[in-house]
């Protein structure tokens, strides 16, 4: 169905209005892809009702435009109609689609943050340092994004540079997405590192036990030797001090000699 722009069709849209409708359609397609991605990346595959609500409101404002153009009864539209009514509602519709996209991106950031943290928690930090050195840059990005979650909700109206903000946000989410993919594929290498470290730890523990046992044996031998030497020395000393030639015995003369 083609809608002819111009004045020959009183219900039609002007060229400028058609361009704005095309812009809304294009934005919606991008937002839809982000919403689908956000639902797919969610740990429980959950939808966000806030996003659905934004799309409902965007649809409502679009329908207001259509009703205004095609309705026979325009008396219920209030004091604004025509181009002015179109502009007011198309801007609101665009605003709701943008907010739906931001909600979806917030959801994706949270899901990726949760998945990255639980993925990293299973491995020692040294393994991450060795195998995924870019984690430290990603960490900074994650902390930056963490601060902005839910920020756009606080803004009622969309700003002039909202497109750039959205582009930057998409780019950042893509960085996290790539890192999460890398983390998943680095799983075997991280496991191997963990296993190697465990083996090294066991080996070190074993050698420590061996050293302790050896030390104990040597210590025991030394103690035994010291004991033997001490006993011998003591006995020698005791024997010498108690020897008969050294004893002063009383001289008893025999009666025969007398």
């Amino acid at each position: 169905m083609g809608i002819a722009p111009g004045k020959e069709n009183e219900n039609g849209f002007s060229k400028e209005e058609i361009a704005q409708l095309e812009g809304l359609a294009s934005l919606y397609m991008q937002a839809k892809s982000l919403i689908l991605y956000s639902e797919e990346v969610d740990p429980d595959y959950r939808s966000n009702l806030q996003t659905i609500k934004e799309l409902r409101d965007a649809f409502d404002h679009l329908m207001r435009i259509i009703v205004e153009r095609f309705s026979d009864d325009k008396s219920s539209l209030g004091d604004v109609s025509g181009t002015e009514y179109f502009q007011k509602n198309i801007q609101k519709s665009i605003g709701h689609v943008y907010r739906a996209a931001f909600d979806a991106l917030d959801g994706a950031v949270m899901s990726l943050r949760e998945k990255i943290i639980s993925g990293l928690d299973a491995f020692p930090l040294e393994a991450v340092k060795d195998i995924l050195p870019e984690y430290w840059d990603i960490r900074v990005k994650l902390e930056e994004l963490n601060e902005t979650i839910g920020d756009h909700r606080a803004r009622k109206d969309i700003g002039g540079n909202i497109g750039e903000t959205l582009d930057r946000f998409v780019k950042d989410v893509d960085i996290l997405k790539s890192f999460h993919k890398k983390l998943l594929s680095a799983g075997p290498a991280l496991e191997e590192y963990k296993e190697r470290k465990n083996q090294e730890g066991k080996k070190e523990k074993r050698s420590q036990v061996q050293i302790s046992v050896t030390n104990a044996i040597i210590g025991g031998i030394i103690c035994a030797l010291v004991g033997v030497i001490a006993t011998v020395a003591f006995n020698n000393y005791f024997q010498k001090t108690n020897a008969p030639d050294k004893q002063v015995l009383p001289q008893i003369s025999s009666p025969a000699t007398k």
């Binding site: 939808s47 009702l49 609500k53 943050r113």
Partner: protein, 82 residues
């Protein structure tokens, strides 16, 4: 295809919405939802078998406003390994 509701329906709806004509709904806004006016998960579950809408919603795979708020707080406070 034109869909028209009956005069009785029009009257009932107009009366409950406190409007004179059905066309007046055009500039009315839908109700929002928030942590104080949230979706009732138990109530939506009651109608899940008879609903013909989204499977995801009918199986309860969504965040209510309160759950979403809690999720934001929980994930924002998760510590990254350092």
């Amino acid at each position: 295809m034109t869909i028209r509701v009956s005069e009785t329906t029009r009257n009932i709806v107009c009366k409950s919405l406190d409007i004179h004509r059905l066309s007046e709904v055009i500039d009315m806004s839908y109700g929002g939802f928030s942590t104080t006016a949230d979706v009732d998960r138990a109530k939506t579950g009651l109608y899940s078998d008879s609903n013909r809408g989204s499977v995801r919603l009918n199986t309860g795979r969504y965040y209510t406003a309160k759950e979403y708020e809690e999720r934001i707080n929980r994930i924002k406070n998760m510590k990254l390994p350092y």
